[in-house]
Every structure is written in structure tokens, then in C-alpha cells.
Symmetry: D4
Subunit: 252 residues, 8 copies
């Protein structure tokens, strides 16, 4: 993002007569944009390295979706479409060969490159109940597209702590934990008191009444009395996966 | 509350000439009120049996408070004043001999009768943190005024489950559990998965930020995924004690 | 849940040469899990004694539901499925023989064991309006599956107190009262001033406008000025029944 | 509000030469304003008949308050200052002779005219608890300044219905009822099922926790299942009195 | 509600031998209930005089609705069913002859008695926009069933005050004003500054975004700076009509 | 709105005998209304000059919509119908010739007058994401009906600032900027730090979970730390366009 | 913000040997920053032309405040400090000569330059009540520091529309209107129906109960049914002034 | 957390006669607790490695605080007390030698061990405004107590992006970024689009009006359109630091 070297070289070349004034000007005048494009290029680079861009399907017409997905398929080696209905996928697939659907995660992905290359180390994805599974599958599919190995632990809510305790050893050995819970959302707090891995908590909109579409577990997670919990948006499995990817770094 | 016997007797006496029409009328016309007074009498009776009426101090002027407390001391054998500041107590005490202050529970009580008579069985009062103790002490003092034995378990929050597990045997043997928690308020859910006693959950206004003065633990408790939890108002230690008293019944 | 006896016996047997080191180790190393499994076993035991596990149907695909219900039918003698649509039931029934539907309570139940055995004493289930009946039926069906006798009092809202007063004698004789109310939700407060039974209040999402899907009655019930009321989640008839079951204890 | 008579008279007088063109113009050009002033004049007239303008004290500096009150005392025969602290009153009194303080209603009033003239018929002002009394006194003082007779019924909350039932006959004979309740605010609903008088409900900010400074009783009152209840702002005793005054009309 | 006359007559008749002890007992033993039924009977009386009982249709199955409506048609001379869909009405009509539908008010009514008898004086029903009309029609139909004359003023919102000013004379001459507004709901405040009639404000759930299904106009109306406004629940045209009926009294 | 001249002329004419008393009276008595009608006339004038009246379609029956649209087409040269479904448009079009549909903006418009006359200067309409486009198109279509030139910048959210930076020069040269953003709604804040044009921010209901149907971007925009941002209702593209029109003035 | 000219000149001067490579590098290497500083410089320029930077005082220690204000006084010709307590001002004044306090607007300002130069045209600042005046004075003082003439209209709330109507001619002739209202906040809606000037609405936190510290007027203003209203944060007089300044442009 | 080795050794020693049955029993019977204590011990270990336990001061009496802090100083080598007032610190210091106060972070810490040992790599702590600094200092002090190097970037809000751009290179090279913002809280979103480091966002309660004590930035951060952001509670600098510590792992 920093242009010192570029500026120095242009100055040197101009001074040395290697480039014309015009050419110097053309290069220099775009510097701010190149600088900022750097963000974009860097973004591209991180995508190339396993960070898939995502298209959020709801609220887009099929025509918009198709146009965006075609452009993505042209520009990127790997991307995903979140909150996609199966019927939308079936129509999209006709235009975009190679699109795959993950029904349990409500998403489709596109991946031009070689077969998945599993890295060492895993990320644990744990849910309190079975109704939280779609969010967990969204997180898992996203992680796997980023070549991160996932181990799933579903239905380990605090109502039966033994279900959780049986898994502690494996959870403790994960690089990070994505923890999804609806209703009262107490699982991340409890887990954070038992393992010392970073826990990315995802409130789920499962539940009814005073869970208020995910507000109850959101507040629970934000107020976790055990340190080591950070929170993403309600139902945002994709966002949790991206944050974990960021945490693990490029060199993982 | 039901007046059949009274009506029958009046009819019989009137028929038998034992009472005049006027007197019959006077007695019968008040029947609805007597019926309803029955509720009051019954209420008195339950008070007499250990259920203390409570005066909520905030928002009352000292003059109002004093007048009410004097009337209470005249009419009742036992009552308490909740959310009382010490300086208020010190002034009240001058007018009402025999008033006792429980500073850690922010309440005063008045008890004309004989020394406390402990019943068999105990109620457990458990808090997640130390900041929840005033609410717990309000509940405990109320229970004790009702001759119910209390066992306190403070600072057993889910951040360190071992603190909770050490107490499970005793908690399991309690007749009921009053469980106070602020911040994310996950303790009742976790506890309900571990013991099979009825848990009366009290959200505490401790915490900051997204605990929103007790809304976060309130929602957590209402959404408890483990069955066996019912909830009272934020910081309402007195209410939890009364509900438990009701549960245990007169004959406890 | 407590392992003293087990530890003592293993130590004794090992000392006495009755068991090998390996066997001692294998038994002892699992102790923490056995301890925790104890919770599970105890849970099972309580289920066996009348406490049905519940499956919450919304947000589960039919495939998930079917898999869970089959597993439940294999493991448990009695369980129920709440918030089940009739069309879901009709499909489930094909896989799970013996499943019964309670349309007015929007639930299905499975009960392998002998015919219902009514206990002495009853729990009153009372609603303010007719629109609250589905929640009441969910509570009633749950109680009955736990062999607890139910007496229903529907449409006794505070708009016509005489409807309530006619029932007071019977309400007063119940072991506990589950009280469901939507709109302003004042019934539990009023009832708590009239009877001295513990009242488990269930806010209902009936009503419109400023009832905000049950928030209005929820707040009303939490703020009940008459002591003796505790609250469960909006529309949570099942939870109210479980809490009452817990209150009554195993030995009821 | 309608200026027909004025216009007709000016036209007549101008035609008859009784007033000059200039004077006619001056009077007529202000007609739209006079028309609108009519509202003000009419307002004045209603004030004179018992409808006092009110100054809301909070958020005003003493200087602003003093200036406004002096202007009011000059222009009006009767007005009141609501939510006034006693120390503010004591300073104001130095500038404005004849100002009276009603400490229990947290207001001061000014009344140049003859002694109060009680009308036939009364308005009942009823509170659920003692903490609601300041709001009730604000309503009562406002009504009395409007020459409306008040009968107060304090501490009649639904926790002890007999306290309410004892008063029903008198409440039924009132022209209207102002009903103030904090905490769960169920009193207006219950009352509306028992009497057929119009009930103006005032939610009070008394209570704590989930009463949310008056939101709980506000929602309760808006959702009243018994018809015949309308609601004003939290703690707005003055507004309830004004609405009742409007209901009773000028000719009362 | 008061049973003096009944008690006196029974006593007299018993005394005079006109009725047997048994009969006297049977009549008297029900007195508390009769007393309370008095509310019901009085309710009936008021219905007969123009106060229709209402059935709220949403959340009731057709079977429940039909059963209730048949019972109502048997017991009452006049009642209405609010928030009724046309298709529900068409089915109900087959069972209940004489049911009439008011599509613009989304309600049906039943009226056994003679043709409507218009009283002197009218109630104004005014809306801010055209989308508020269904609520206005619900209020109007309810008023008319109570033999109260209605004058409708639709689409007079504050965006074009002249539309309002043209109607002021007629509004001023109404006995009371029901004022319905969605979006920002400013109409009642503005109207209250212009006329001195009591205004029953009904927030409407019309609007979008930050009107939050009627919360915005509800808050606006509760905070009206002009005195003389009281508020009922969002969209509650029926409730506004009942309150006005109560205000006008039986003798209107 | 000011009637001085009219009053003076009537006085003069009456004085000079040019008009009769009766006629003078008739004209003068309506002055308040004429005054207020002036607002209406002025309103009409502004409409005629490019300010289209709008009909908000949701919550209106087709019959109401048709009646209103026919009346509008008769009275106005130009108006629009917002939030219109295509199927509604197709039916409306049969009655109202010349109605045009803008599907991407979910609106129809009617314009009797000559072809659009573009003014100098443009208003920029910028969105953070593609899901915000319908709101942007509503704003754009409204502006164009008011003869204001629009330049659209879609999908410039802060996640990739370079997309925004590429447009800064053009944004800076716009007369005003309408900026639509959902999710976290940070675009207006960021933009306001970069350009010195007035920014009318429109929160969009796009997003999910904790965006709460537009509350999150609404709060973000209201709290913008960069000065120069004002906010309209969630999804209110029409309102943003009208405010901009007002800002630019008639003489633009 | 665009650096073409700078780049071109540096290239030219370097080419022409007028500046050394080093100097060229030093200037060019900062170009991205200069580019971005351009925003800052432009900001400065706009400040110089009347746009004062503001320091928000609350939440800053006196030491922080003093340090910031000294730096500001060194760098800027004009700035202001909002929400400043008088005692803070008195201490600040000791360090920063030339600081002026505007007590009614709760702000201080610093202005090195020549006496105020009033521009043609004015901005109207109007309040609904007297309690809204501090916000109005904050807006007015900010506008005046930007050399924009202000005309104040205080206490023109909709409860007495004539107070508003008297001012319409002057309001209509303003370049823009800043309209502050608490309680129900209806003034901007009403005003927008009467004048065709752009109205920047500021909700005020004045009021009590259901005004919820400004939420009620905020919602009212966002839902204004009359077009031409945009809203800034609660009590944000400074922000309203800045937006208006942006609207009027540099060339005003 | 797993006790295999302990169990094996006890079994071995008992078998080998090295320990008595009694001793074996005593050690084994505590195994579940030791197991769970393991969490505590592990916790201790992590503390020793840089993870300080924290005492939250508000809501604790001085006596409670003193007792807890003395116990902590006895048991731990390092801990901190958050949200501590200076006067509380001054009293605590008398009992607990070696307590240090960090006034800008509103916390005190205790550290028995050797001087701080800086690790390689740093964590960036960045704030949007100066009012957010106390939260940033709480995070920084916590990180430094955990031997993590901190680089602070204060006052880099999005209103002047150049302030942020100047820091990008350094921010990009941090191991993680803690980003604190109040008001609209847009900084984390913008930052996440520019750097590819994990960003732990802390909403600050700075701001006023519609920032609602931190709700606005909380929602903004949860809805961040740029991936790579996770959120902790409002003002929770300590929690952000702990989460980052967890992320970096023990081996950092």
C-alpha cells in the first residue's frame, strides 16, 4: 500500500532520462489510486490464497444474482453465494458451470482450482442445538473453501453438560472454536471457562418468544463473564469463518 | 371465600325469627364484601404463618415510610422493608422499636414473635458473582423471616464451572434453588442441566454495556434451554423468596 | 453424581487384588465422565419417572426431525414433539408407530408405557382468553405425559372477574397453577392476590399492536405486584409444565 | 374560532361609516391571526373557566422559569407549574406573590380569582400503590384548579382486590376515573371490567427492573382487554386531568 | 353491581312466606356471584343499550370462531367480530343468519333488534391518511352499532393543514373526536391545539421503516404537547369507540 | 399566504361602493380559508414546477388505489405511485392511460407534460451495495420526474474504499448526494469526511440479524462523526429526493 | 483533492533542474498523504470560509480538553467547543486567550479573524418549546461562526398553531430552516406542509416518560408525512448547522 | 484438564504399596474436583504466562473489594482491578502493597514477578476519537500485563480518513488490531476493508442521543460489511485484550 519505492524509482528514471515527463506524470498521477487499488490487489491476493469473496443472495433479483455470479466466476478462482435457495441455485447452475450447492449450509460455491488441500490443525465448529446446524454448515463450508480443516460438534448445549465435556479434549486442541447457539446462547460462556482457545460466538435466530430472533443469545455472548469470547452478527456463519481465517493468518 | 354456610345460617335464623329482617339485610348486603375480605383475612393468615408483607422503600418520602411502617408494626407480627438505605433505617428505628437492619440485603425487618424456628429442609441461594450478593441477601433474609432455612452459595458463575461442581451435592439436596446472575446470566441454565430441583432465576442488574441493566440475563433466563427454570423481575430477591415460600406450602 | 463410593470400592478392590491395575485405571480414568454421565443417567431416570424429553420442531428439516424422533423412540419410553404442524405429524407417523397428535396443543407425543396413571392432586391450567388455548394445551399435554392430573380453566380474563371468581375454590385447591395470558397479561397478578398457590405465568403472543408479540404480558408478569408469580418464556407451555413437574418433585 | 360575526360587524360598521377604512383594515388584516388567536382566546376562556395553562419546570433555568411565570401571572388568572422542586418554588415565590405550592403533587399554582367553586359530580383519582401518589396529586391539584371535585382512592392495587371492591360503589358513581399504576399496571384493566365509567389510565414510573421506568404499565394499559380505557403519557397526571376536563365539557 | 334491592326483596318475600327457605337460599347463595354477575348483567344491559360485545377473530380456528359466534348470537342481541377476513365471514354466515359484513372495517356484526336509532350529537372520526381508513371504519361501525352517530373526515393529515382547517367547525361541534394516524401520527396533537373536544387518538400501523408498525405514532400521541389527548392501542378502532361510548354515558 | 392586499382591496371596493356588503362578507368570511388554501395553491404551484405528489401504494385496496390515481391524473400534471407491485401497475394502467412503470424503483409515474428537461448540475445517488438499488432507483426516478439530473454510483460500500475513491471527483462535483446504505450503513460518514457536499443519508432495510430491518444503519447515520449528513426514513428514496429538491430550490 | 497540478509541476521543475531529486522525492512521496491531506486542507479552507471544527467536551478530562484546545487554537482560525460546562470554560479561558462562552448554547468558540461578516439571506432556527432553546442556541452560534445570519423563532409548538402562523412569512423567506422539537416532535411535519424550504429537524431530549430521551420526536421526524424534512441526531444543534452550511455552499 | 497421569500414578503407587489406601482414597476422591480444578490450575498457569485475572470494581463495597484483592494478592502473581476510581485505589493501596494505578485506563494492577518482558510482535490499539481513550488504555494495560507489546493509534476516526491512512502500514504489520469507536462506530468496518489483520471491535459508550450508550456502534460493528471483524461488549477493553491474548496463544 505504500508507494515510496515507486515514487523513488520514477524520480530516478525521470532524472536519468529513462522515462518521459509524460510517462512520469501518467504513472505518478495515478499513485493515489494505485495505492488504493493496492487494497484491492491485496484483497485479490488474499482471495487467491483461500479467502473467498461472498455474494449475499437475499434481496437480489435472479437477474442481478446471475450477472454478479457470472462476473465473479470470470474474475475469481473461488467464491461463494450465501443464503441461497435451492431453486435459485438450480437456475444459476445453468449459467455458471461448476457451481456447487451445500444445502445444509444454504450456500453455493465456485472453485476453479485444484482439489482441497487440507492444512494442519483444525477449527472446531460447535452448536448448542440441531436447529443451529445451518449456520454451522455455512461457517464450515466457508472454512473448507479457505483450505481450513473443520471438525464439527453439533448439539452440545449446556442443558446436558456431559455432551460438552465428552468433547473437551478435542475442542481444546483446535486452533480456534466457532460456537453457534440460539435460545439463551450460554454455550460460549461455559466453553470459555473450560478451554483456552479463542471462541468466535455466533448468536442464532433459533428459538422463539423472548429470544427475539437472536437478540437474547447476542446479548448473552456479548456479556460473557468468561474472557476469550468475541461475537459476530446473528446467524453470520460466513463472518465467523472469515474472522477465524484472518486470525490464523496467511501462513497457517 | 365462599359464603354458603353464612347464607344458610342467616336464612335459617330469619326463618326461625331469631334475627330481624333488618339485621338479616345488614348481614346479607355485606356478603360480597365479607367474601372479599376473606381474601384479606386469608392473606393475614398467611402472613401470620410466616409470610411477611413487604414495604418497597424507594420513591416514598420519609414521612410516608414512617407512617406506613408504624401502621404495619401495629397490624402485623412480621414484615420487612426492602431497598432501604441505612440512613433511612436509622431514622425509622427511632419511631419503630424492634426494627432490625440487614445491610448486605439492603432491607430492614420487624418480627414481634418468638425466635426463628428453623424448618427441616433448606432453600439454596446461589449467585454467579459477588456483585449479585445484595439480591441474594434480600432473598435470604426474606426466606429466613418466613422460617425457611437458607444455604448460601456465592460466586459460582459459569466462568469457572468447578466452583459450581463443588456445590452440586448440596444444591441437589435443597428443596428449591434461588439462582441470581447478572452479566450474561447463564448460571440457571447450566444449573438446570445438572440438578433436578426447581430453580427460581433472578436476573441481576450487575454488569455494564450490553447487559442493559439486567435485560441480558433476563432474556437468557427466559430462554433457558434446560427445563426447570422460572424467572422473576430483575433484582427481585424478595419476589423469588415469596414464590419459593408459595411452592413449599404452609405445611412445609 | 458423586463418586466417593465408586472410588472407595475401586481402591478396596485394587488393594484386595480383586481387580487389575489396568482395570482400576480404566474405571478411574473415566470417573470424571462417569460423574458427568451421572447427570445424564439421572436425567434418564427422571424421564423414566414421567419427565418427557421434548423435540422443538420449528427450524428442523423433515429429515432431521425424522432422524431425531426415531432415535428418541429407540432410547426413551416417552417424549414429545412441540410446535408440530399436522402435516409434519402425518409424515412422521409413517416412520414412528405409536406417535399421537394433540392438535389443540400443536404437539405429538410418544409413550411406550402402560396407560396413564393419574396422581393425586391436580395442577390448574388457566387462560385469560380463548386465543391462549394452544399454549394451555401444550402445557396440559406435557403435564399429563408426566402423569400429573390437569384441570383446565379457559377464558377467565380480568375483563370479567366473575368468570374468575367462580373458579377460585377449585384454583385454590390445586397444587400449582399455570396461568397463560396475552394482551395485557394481568391475570397472574390478580390471581396471585386471591389464591395462595404458586403461579407459573406464561405470557402469550396473542394480541396485536402494543402487545408486541408477547412483550407486554411478559413485562406485566415480571412486575406482578402480588408475590407468588414466576415467569417462563412467551408461549412456553412446555416449559411451564416442566417447572411445575420439578416443583412437585418425584415423590408427588 | 369562527369569525363570521366579527366580519359581518366590521362590514356593517364600515358601510355605516362608523369606522374608518384604516380601522377596518387594521381589524380585518388581523383576522386570520384573530381567527387563530381565537384558539388562544378560546383557550383563555377555557382557562378562565377552569382550564389552567401549565409550565413544565424541568430543563428550564431559574431565569427562564421566573420570566415565564411572571408573564403568566400577568396574562392569566390561573395557571400551574408542574414538576417543580420546593427550592425552585421558594425562589419563585419571592417574585410572584400568590404562588402556592402543593408538595405532594410536585407543583405550584397561581389563582387570582375567588375561592374554589365545587361543581356537582366528582372525578375519582385512584392509585395502585403509595408510590404513585405524586402523580395522583398532580392530577388532583389540576382538577381542583379547574373547579372539578376530586375523590381520592390511594393504594388499591390488584394484589388485594378487596381494597378495590370496597370502593366500587363510589368509583361507579364518579363522572370519570383517573387510574394511576406503576409496576405491572393492571389496575385499569381490572377496574374497567367492574365499573362502566370512562377510565383515563396513567402509567407510573414507579417500580424497578423490568418495569423499565413505566414502559411495563404503559403497555399493560394500552393492551387492556376490558374496553373503556384510554392512556396518557407516563407520570402525566396533569394530562389526565386535562383530558377529563375536556370530556366533562364547559357546561359541567 | 349492588344487590341491595334483591336482598331486601328476598328477605321481604321470605318473611312474608312468599318464597320457601330453599328458594331463598338458592337465590341468596348465588348473591356473590350475582353481584359479580351484576357486572355481567350490567354489561348485558349496556350491550342492549348499544354496547356490543366483540369477538377478536385472529388466532382462533374457524371451529372456535363458529362456536363462540353461535353462543353469542344466542345470548346477545348485538355483537361484533373484529379483524375478520371475508372468507371467514362467508363461512360463518352459513351458520349464523343475520350476520352482516363491513368489509372496509374488517368486521362483521350481528344485531337482532330494530333498525338503528340515531341519537342527537355525533362523534367525529378523522384519519390522517387513506391507509388509516380500515381502523376508522372499525371505530365507526362499532359506534353505529351503539346507536351513536358518526361523521367521518378522512385524509386530513398535517402535511396539508388546509384540509384540516376546512373541517374545524364541524370537528368542534362533535361530542368527541376519534383521531387515527399512522406514520408520524402528529394529527391528534395539532387537532388538540385547535379544538376543545376530547380526542381519543388511535395510532395506526400504516407506514414503514422507522414507524415500526405503529410505535412512532403511538409515542407521538402519548407525548402530545397539547392537552386533551388520550391514546388506545395501535389499530384499536374498536377500543376507541368503546371508550367514547363510555365517555358519553348511557343517557347520551 | 398573506392576505393584506386582498383585505385592503375589499375594504376599498366596499368603501367605494363597488361591491355589496353581502359580497364583501362572503369574500372576507372565507379569508382564513383562502389564506390556508394559499398553502394548497402554493403546493400546487410547486407540484406544477416539478414536485410530484406521491401515492404510497401499500395498505390500499386496488379500488382505493384506482380511485386516487384517477383523481390525481385529473388534477395533476405529474405524480408518482411508490412501492407499487407490477401486477398492481398492470391493472391500474388499464384505467389510467399514460402511467409508466419503473420496475427497479418499484414505482409508477404519470407525466402529462412535455419531455424531460434536464437542468444543469446533477445529484449523485450512491449505494453501498447492490441490494440497496431499489431505494436508489426510487430516489432517482423521483428526482428525474422533478427535472433534476441524476448520476448513479452503485455498490461503493466501505468494505472496498477504492471503489469509492475512484468516484470522488464526480461525487465532489454533484450539487448534493443521496447516499443509501444497509447493514452497518457507514458509507455516509466516510463520504462526509471526503467531500464537502450535503449528504442525504437513507438507511436501507437490507441486511439481516442485528441490522434489525434498517435500525443499525439508521443509528449509524444519525451518529455520523463527520458533519454534513442528514437522514430520512428507512428505505425512503422518495423522501430523500424531495428533500434534495427542496434544497435546490425552484430556481435551480 | 486531486493532485494533478502538483504532480505536473514537480515533474516540470525536476525536469528543468529547478528542484533536486531529493526534494522531488520528498514532495512526491507524500503525495498520497497530500492527496488525503487535501481533504484536510480543503477542510481547513472550508473552516476558514466559515466552517468551524468542533470539540465535543463531554467524556474528556480537563487535561485532554486543554491540550486539544491549545492545539486547535494554534492550527485553526476558528473553532468551537460544544457541550461545555461554564466551570470548564473558566479554566480553559486561562490557557486560551480569546475563547468566548455562549452559555445559552452550552458552547465556547474561538475566532481569530476579523469581526463577523453577515451574508445575505438568513437561516431560520425555530423551536417548539422553551426547553429546546439550548439546542437552538448551539445551532445558532455555530451558524454565526460560519458567517451565516440567523433568525430565531422560539416556542412555536403545534399546541398553539397561531404562534407558528404569525411567523410563516418570515420562515418562508429563509434559505433553510433548522427546526428543534422535543416531546412529540410534530413541528417539522406541520411546518413542511406550510412552507417549501428545506427543513433540518433536530429531535430534542426534552420531555419525559414515553418521549424516551428524544426517541419519540426522532421517530416522528423520520416518519414525517410532509416531504422536505431530513433529520440529525438528538440534541445535535451543531450537526444541523453544519449540514445547512454544506447545503448553502461556499459561494453563498 | 485430563487426569490420566495422576490416576495412573496413584494406581501404581497404591499397587506398589508406596501410599496407603487412605491416602489413595483421599487423592482419588478429589479427582473430579482436581479435574475441574485443572481448569483453575490451567487458568493459573495461563495467568502466570501473562493472563491476569480481573476484578470488576463497580457494585462492590470497599470491604468486599479489599477482601477480594487481598485474597487475589495472596494467590496470584498478577491480576488487575478494572473500572476502579482513584479514591478507591488510594484506600486499597494501604492494604495491598505493590498495587499500581493506571488512571487513563481506570484500572489498577498487581504484578509480583520480574519486570515486563516484551514479546516480539505487537498488537495495535486504535481509537476513533479521544473520548474512546479510557477503553483503549484498559485494553492496553491488560495486554501489557500479559507481556504483549502495544502500539497505540488514537483519534483516527473515519471523519478524516487521512489520519487513518497514515497509519495503515503499521496497522497492517500488527498481529491483531483492537479497534475502539463510539458514536457511529464505523472505524472497524473501514479498517477491515484496508488491512487483513483480525480486528477485535469494541463499541464505546461515548456519544449522545441516538448512540444510545453504545448501542449504535455495537450494531454497526456487528453488521460490518467487511469480513474480519468480531465484537466484544460495550466499553470492554479488558475483554478485547483477553480475546487477543487467546488468539495469540501461549507460545506467542
Amino acid at each position: 500500500m505504500f508507494t515510496e519505492k515507486v515514487v523513488k524509482r520514477v524520480v530516478r528514471e525521470l532524472r536519468g532520462g529513462k522515462i518521459s515527463s509524460n510517462r512520469a506524470f501518467r504513472r505518478l498521477k495515478n499513485l493515489p489510486y494505485e495505492t488504493l487499488s493496492a487494497a484491492r490487489l491485496d484483497h485479490h491476493r488474499s482471495i487467491r490464497k483461500g479467502f473467498p469473496e461472498a455474494v449475499y443472495a437475499p434481496g437480489k433479483s435472479f437477474e442481478q444474482l446471475e450477472k454478479i455470479v457470472l462476473a465473479m466466476a470470470h474474475a475469481h478462482k473461488c467464491f461463494l453465494i450465501t443464503r441461497l435457495e435451492e431453486f435459485q441455485f438450480l437456475r444459476l447452475k445453468e449459467s455458471v458451470a461448476g457451481l456447487k450447492f451445500v444445502p445444509e449450509g444454504r450456500l453455493a460455491y465456485y472453485r476453479k482450482s485444484a482439489p482441497f488441500r487440507k492444512r494442519r490443525g483444525t477449527v472446531a465448529v460447535i452448536t448448542a442445538g440441531t436447529a443451529d446446524i445451518p449456520v454451522a454448515e455455512e461457517a464450515s463450508a466457508t472454512l473448507e473453501l479457505m483450505d481450513i480443516q473443520v471438525k464439527k460438534f453439533f448439539d452440545c448445549g449446556v442443558a446436558g453438560l456431559h455432551r460438552l465435556f465428552d468433547q473437551l479434549r478435542e475442542l481444546q486442541s483446535a486452533k480456534a472454536i466457532i460456537c453457534i447457539a440460539g435460545m439463551e446462547g450460554a454455550l460460549p460462556s461455559v466453553l470459555a471457562g473450560l478451554v483456552d482457545r479463542p471462541i468466535v460466538a455466533v448468536p442464532a435466530s433459533t428459538g422463539y418468544g423472548a429470544s427475539f430472533e437472536g437478540i437474547a443469545p447476542l446479548l448473552t455472548m456479548l456479556n460473557s463473564c468468561a474472557p476469550g469470547v468475541a461475537v459476530v452478527n446473528i446467524d453470520n456463519g460466513y463472518g465467523a469463518a472469515c474472522f477465524v481465517r484472518q486470525m490464523l493468518g496467511k501462513s497457517q
